[in-house]
């Protein structure tokens, strides 16, 4: 028997209270219980990173967490990035650098990039690729993704420092 749990979470600044089964994956909770379909599901085994979200500001794969584990925590999904009618700087950078094709992997990459900026690290090339290794893309060959993230980090962290 699957147990049931009442959980309270803050997602993209909004508070939610829901009943979930113990076995409910966090990614399915976001998609099916909250209707936030921007977080994608690829492999369900922690490999592809399509389900990447921020949990209290840190990137995690939401297919490897159970929804009740998020009780009392704060989450950010891709829906939390853009302002009203305005792209988030990371989204702007991906558009400028042509950092996406089909877009399936994109929400995960965007959140990985935002977490890097929040840590205040400007990385490029090989060391940036190592930080993004938890996100897979089947379309782009990564070159433009890496360029987009480099551009975003330089702008955001660079200007914050300067």
């Amino acid at each position: 028997m699957s147990s049931r749990h009442r959980i309270r979470v803050t997602v993209n600044g909004r508070a939610y209270e829901r009943d979930v089964q113990g076995r409910r994956l966090l990614v399915d909770f976001l998609r099916h219980d909250l209707g936030l379909y921007g977080t994608h599901v690829g492999c369900e085994q922690g490999v592809c990173g399509a389900c990447t979200v921020l949990l209290d500001g840190q990137v995690v794969k939401s297919c490897l967490m159970l929804a009740p584990q998020a009780d009392g925590r704060t989450l950010t999904t891709v829906e939390g990035l853009a302002g009203r009618g305005e792209l988030h700087p990371v989204q702007e950078a991906f558009r400028e650098a042509h950092g996406l094709q089909c877009g399936y992997c994109t929400p995960g990459f965007l959140l990985s990039a935002v977490a890097l900026a929040d840590r205040g690290v400007v990385l490029e090339g090989k060391s940036l690729r190592a930080e993004l290794a938890g996100n897979l893309c089947r379309c782009t060959g990564y070159q433009n993704i890496v360029e987009a993230v480099e551009r975003y980090l330089r702008q955001t962290v660079g200007s914050r420092r300067g």
Binding site: S2, Q21, R23, Q45, T52, V60, A133
Partner: protein
């Protein structure tokens, strides 16, 4: 796929976790970082009656030094090990091994205790624990016991833990002043190793080494401490002759299997190559002062 139904239980103390494990009579699993357990649940390779979440348990996320030992709580996450100044200074091998594990997301969630309990024969944490002769503390219905790393790992995904025991802490000898290196061969960075060799050593007078410890991962059903090779290297300057003798001793200790990642023959070929590589890196790091 999605997990089969189970009861989700949060444990706020170690005692509560042990009691919950007992209540489900061996048919429950602890949930630490979930980075190995949840994939197994999703694929329904495991269908426990209950999952006991340890993440709300306080007091198992410490890194402390006392009495010549560095104690690391079972719930310390990889990301903490990666950035802890204390770990870098006192358990340099652990600090060197962590970046080889998975990726950023995995390291934000995965824990030292979870990695050890999962006991993947190619896992870097188990390799570091065996190489350094760490001691693991288990708490169960009959109380507390300490298990040497060498006895803890019994085979692939098999440990000495009883079904109702919880791993709470890992104690490492204080490795202050030691130099450490890891050399591994994997299909992709962050993937499980085909062969992983770990080494730690304490510089002695001149170019000599007081002691060197070598560990072998992915070359047997469990990680191995290469006792003979380590003994051969103590007091040497890691000169080519000593290194070759150590590499041969490592090869003799190994018992590699063929699996989806590589054949046994290929693994045997890699062992001496990577032993030489890890020892060269050890010398380099000493010279460069990058421990």
């Amino acid at each position: 796929m999605k997990p089969a139904p189970f009861e989700y239980v949060t444990a706020e103390t170690t005692e509560a976790a042990v009691a919950a494990l007992e209540r489900f009579e061996g048919n429950a699993r602890c949930l630490a970082g979930g980075q190995s357990l949840v994939p197994l649940l999703n694929m329904r390779l495991l269908r426990p009656a209950a999952v006991i979440d340890l993440n709300r348990l306080s007091g198992l996320d410490h890194v402390t030094v006392d009495d010549g030992r560095v104690r690391v709580g079972a719930l310390v996450r990889y990301s903490t090990l990666e950035t802890s100044a204390l770990v870098a200074e006192r358990i340099p091998l652990l600090a060197r091994a962590v970046p080889f594990v998975g990726d950023r997301q995995i390291r934000n969630r995965g824990t030292l205790g979870g990695a050890l309990c999962h006991a993947d024969p190619a896992g870097e944490m188990a390799l570091a624990a065996v190489t350094l002769g760490a001691s693991l503390r288990a708490v169960g219905p009959d109380g507390v016991r300490e298990v040497p790393a060498d006895d803890f790992f019994q085979g692939p995904y098999t440990t000495a833990l009883a079904p109702a025991e919880v791993l709470t802490e890992v104690a490492f000898l204080d490795g202050r002043g030691a130099v450490a290196a890891v050399a591994e061969h994997a299909r992709r960075h962050g993937d499980f190793a085909i062969v992983a060799i770990a080494a730690a050593g304490l510089p002695g007078p001149g170019d000599s080494w007081r002691w060197v410890r070598i560990g072998l991962g992915g070359v047997a059903p469990r990680p191995l401490y290469a006792a003979r090779a380590s003994a051969l290297l103590a007091g040497t300057r890691l000169e080519p002759k000593a290194v070759r003798a150590a590499a041969e001793a490592c090869l003799a200790d190994a018992d590699p299997a063929s699996d989806i990642r590589a054949s046994a023959e290929y693994r045997r070929h890699l062992i001496p190559v990577f032993v030489e590589r890890v020892l060269a890196e050890l010398r380099e790091r000493r010279r460069g002062g990058t421990r």
